[in-house]
């Protein structure tokens, strides 16, 4: 047998790096780098290099399972599908279609997500969402409002042509490592790099100006920078007049944010705020890169809107090297949203509460009855399950029992469901709570298109068969749909993409054959359209073609330090792990490098508690407490502690305070206390 190189897209973050899976005799035997890939150019981070380690992991689910007492029984696919049809069908019949909820997966392909939301809506439930809710929901809501499109405005390689890169709330050097090559390339060409983060990170090593702000004070910093820019006349008057509306109101709203006042709120020196503001406004091309440090707040949407305000008043938009760049965390979180696996949008960001949307899909899907939205969001579903309003759930490739804030509460809510079916590759904490578990396939075991953070749609090929009786996620969804009496005839992923081409205007020209050996950046409205790497070149997809400047008042985080909880806990990722860790914690070369949950704290704070580096400590919040190893550092200011969220302990602590608009939980700020173990 000869070795074949199968082109795939990395299953981890949203950068969308490509690599070849080398397969021989139906087995994946290695990775080869893809030197001509437009984003990664052959590079891969530690996670990408370790990707094959999960393929043959002994924990892989290899047959459908049903709960039997405290344990599990292997069952046939037929029995599993019957049970799922019965579980979902009975709840639907007894309590109505709105008692069903569906969690789709930003780890799965566009085709999988499209089918999952279609299944939910054909069954009459508006309750479909995905974990984008926990990462970039404020970007979707905020940027749709201000710019008329949610997504990175410019492609990743374009960062190299920027002359000033403002990175706020993103530790891209650890979370999207290949993006740092483009930042460095810009630096080589003389770009200035500004990093704002409560924690010094490998990303801030790249910075010329490092703004170490207090957690949850981003709006104040961004308003403060806007104040300096307006006050010193550094705005782009022509751009504001021609392309935006709402400048007067914005100007009034930031009037009070003098560098002095901003400094008091954020803890940053006033001269650094001024320096950053001047650099951003006056460079010939400035880009803003942001991530969860902006979105995972009770003011997430406000944060996103203030970012877009800053870009708009300086006219740093619609040209190479400029733009607003939400860096997305999962390999297909952009695609899952594009496909309408969101409570408030049908495919292609068609508003779920718009009768035209319902009319359109009624015709497209030949379905007489479709539920108008918005449905319940990912976090609200769990809440509603606890309250008994949601009776049955179908969860694909997500682990809310681990990844949701205040996770003990999430766990109890899921337990109270009448029926829970979980489709995954491992027995996750969520799958442990299920009635039926269906074994899915990982990226290399199925084919489909994935949309990375820069809206680049790439086809990932199938290299090997799934283990045991595991099946492709598309196949499973189709089987479940058919067992519920729906017509779901999609023999392969290409046939689903063909339907996406017809129903999602942004993807109309992204035909399967055009993705062979190439990629396309949406919007791509026709079959000969080259794709649109840079958005907003000539205007905005909003009324009058103008972007909206929306004044944003500063409001503090939901929780502040108190006598009982004197520290502020902020959470994030480390380079060798990914999200809830169900993959990376099972990957020997990754878990061996970061085996345990740790809490980083300032050396002085630790000294006051008599805690030394490596000591086991307890971290407690109003929700619960968890054990972690102390890691003493100068990365954090006094009063702030940091924990990675890849281990089950962290989200026991986090607050379920949410952003009122985007419904994202405030993972980035909560009050906690740290105790010595003894």
């Amino acid at each position: 047998m000869t070795k074949v190189l199968v082109p795939t897209v990395c299953p981890y973050c949203g950068a969308g790096c490509g690599f070849y899976v080398a397969a021989e005799r139906e087995k994946a035997i290695g990775i080869e780098y893809m030197l001509d890939h437009p984003v990664s150019q052959g590079a891969l981070c530690a996670k990408g290099n370790a990707a094959l380690e999960i393929l043959y992991h002994p924990d892989r689910l290899t047959s459908p399972l049903k709960r039997r007492g405290e344990g599990w029984a292997r069952i046939s696919w037929q029995e599993a599908l019957d049970l799922v049809a019965k579980g979902l069908g009975q709840a639907r019949k007894k309590h109505g279609p709105r008692s069903l909820a569906f969690l789709s997966s930003s780890k799965c392909s566009n085709e999988d997500n499209y089918l999952m939301q279609k299944l939910a809506r054909l069954l009459g439930s508006p309750h479909i969402d995905n974990c984008a809710r926990l990462c970039h929901a404020p970007s979707v809501v905020g940027l749709n409002k201000t710019l008329g499109a949610a997504g990175m405005t410019n492609p990743i390689p374009d960062i190299a042509s920027s002359r000033c890169i403002f990175i706020i709330g993103s530790n891209l050097a650890e979370n999207h490592p290949v993006i740092s090559r483009w930042v460095h390339r810009a630096k080589d060409r003389g770009a200035m790099v500004i990093v704002a983060d409560p924690r010094a990170t490998p990303t801030s090593w790249m910075a010329d100006v490092f703004l170490q702000l207090e957690p949850g004070t981003d709006v104040a910093l961004l308003n403060g920078m806007a104040h300096v820019i307006i006050n010193e006349g550094l705005i782009n008057r022509e751009y504001i007049a021609q392309k935006t509306k709402g400048f007067e109101a914005l100007s009034r709203a930031v009037k009070d944010f003098t560098p002095q006042r901003t400094a008091e709120i954020t803890g940053i020196a006033p001269e650094d705020i001024v320096r950053a503001a001047r650099a951003y406004a006056t460079s010939p091309a400035s880009a803003i890169l942001y991530s969860m440090g902006i979105t995972q707040h009770s003011t997430g949407t406000d944060n996103v809107q203030s970012i877009s305000n800053l870009a708009l008043i300086c006219g740093q938009m619609g040209r190479p090297g400029t733009g607003v760049m939400p860096l997305r965390g999962q390999n297909n979180v952009q695609g899952a949203c594009d496909m309408g696996a969101l409570a408030e949008f049908y495919p292609g960001y068609k508003k779920a509460d718009d009768p035209n949307t319902i009319r359109y899909f009624r015709e497209a899907w030949n379905a007489p009855d479709l539920p108008p939205g918005p449905g319940l969001t990912a976090t609200e579903m769990i809440e509603a399950a606890g309250a008994g309003e949601i009776k049955a759930m179908y969860i694909m490739g997500e682990d809310p029992a681990n990844s949701d804030p205040c996770s003990e509460h999430a766990r109890r809510s899921l337990e109270s469901l009448d029926f829970l079916v979980v489709q995954d590759i491992f027995m996750t904490a969520t799958a442990q709570l299920a009635d039926v578990v269906l074994p899915g396939a990982v990226w290399a075991e199925k084919e489909g298109s994935f949309t990375n953070t820069e809206r680049r749609v790439q086809w990932s090929h199938k290299a090997i068969e799934p283990p045991g009786e595991a099946r492709s996620d598309r196949g499973i969804i189709c089987d479940v749909a058919r067992s519920l009496g729906l017509q779901f005839d999609y023999p392969d992923a290409a046939s689903v993409l063909a339907e996406i081409n017809r129903t999602v205007p942004q993807y109309a020209g992204i035909l399967r054959e055009r993705l062979e050996g190439s990629s396309l950046v949406w919007p791509c409205p026709t079959v000969d359209h080259p794709g649109t790497p840079i958005l907003h070149r000539s205007g905005f997809n909003l009324a009058e073609g103008r972007a909206s400047l929306i004044p944003v008042p500063f409001s503090p985080a939901a929780e502040a330090a108190s006598r009982n909880h004197p520290f502020i806990l902020t959470t994030g990722r480390v380079a060798v792990h990914h999200n809830a860790g169900s993959m990376t914690r099972r990957s020997p070369s990754l878990i061996s490098r970061e085996p345990d949950l740790f809490v980083e704290m300032n050396r002085e704070d630790a000294a006051a508690l008599d805690v030394e580096d490596g000591d086991e400590v307890r971290v407690a919040t109003a929700r619960g407490e968890t054990a972690a190893y102390a890691r003493l550092t100068d990365r954090l200011k006094k009063g702030v502690v940091f924990m990675p969220f890849h281990f089950p302990g962290t989200n026991i602590l986090t607050t379920d305070a949410i952003d009122p608009e985007a419904r994202i939980p405030e993972f980035k700020v909560c009050a906690c206390n740290v105790f010595r173990r003894d």
Binding site: A173, R189, G190
Partner: protein, 146 residues
Amino acid sequence: MAVYIDINRCIGCRSCEVACQRVHGGHGHINVHYVREYAAVPVLCHHCQEAGCTMVCFTGALHKEGECTAFDVEKCTGCGLCALACPFGVVWTDKIAHKCDLCQGREEGPACIATCPANALSDDFDLATRRARERAVRAAAVGGKR
């Protein structure tokens, strides 16, 4: 040839470690070390001109082949003298000696260079300093302004 490091660029992501381990059957030859919270430094064989490890290797398992400090696994007794002799701690023994072989047999060259997300590693001795010179020239050309 050796692998050269641009410390300004290293983001400490440990991608090189995992890649090296991957292509060497689980035995990695590059290690990333951290200078407190301020920098990360990948450490690996320098392929020294006068390599201490080759001088103490009495079987000739470790020997010079041109610029490369090469290793002949058949001759290794696993005595561990090389690990004692190496001033950088980049040769170690676990039954036999392990060290960077510059990914011999890998047509595309060392995996760590190819995989480095930040382009911190290269086989170009002059790259890091040339980058610095070019930055300086560019800054001078615009009068120190960005």
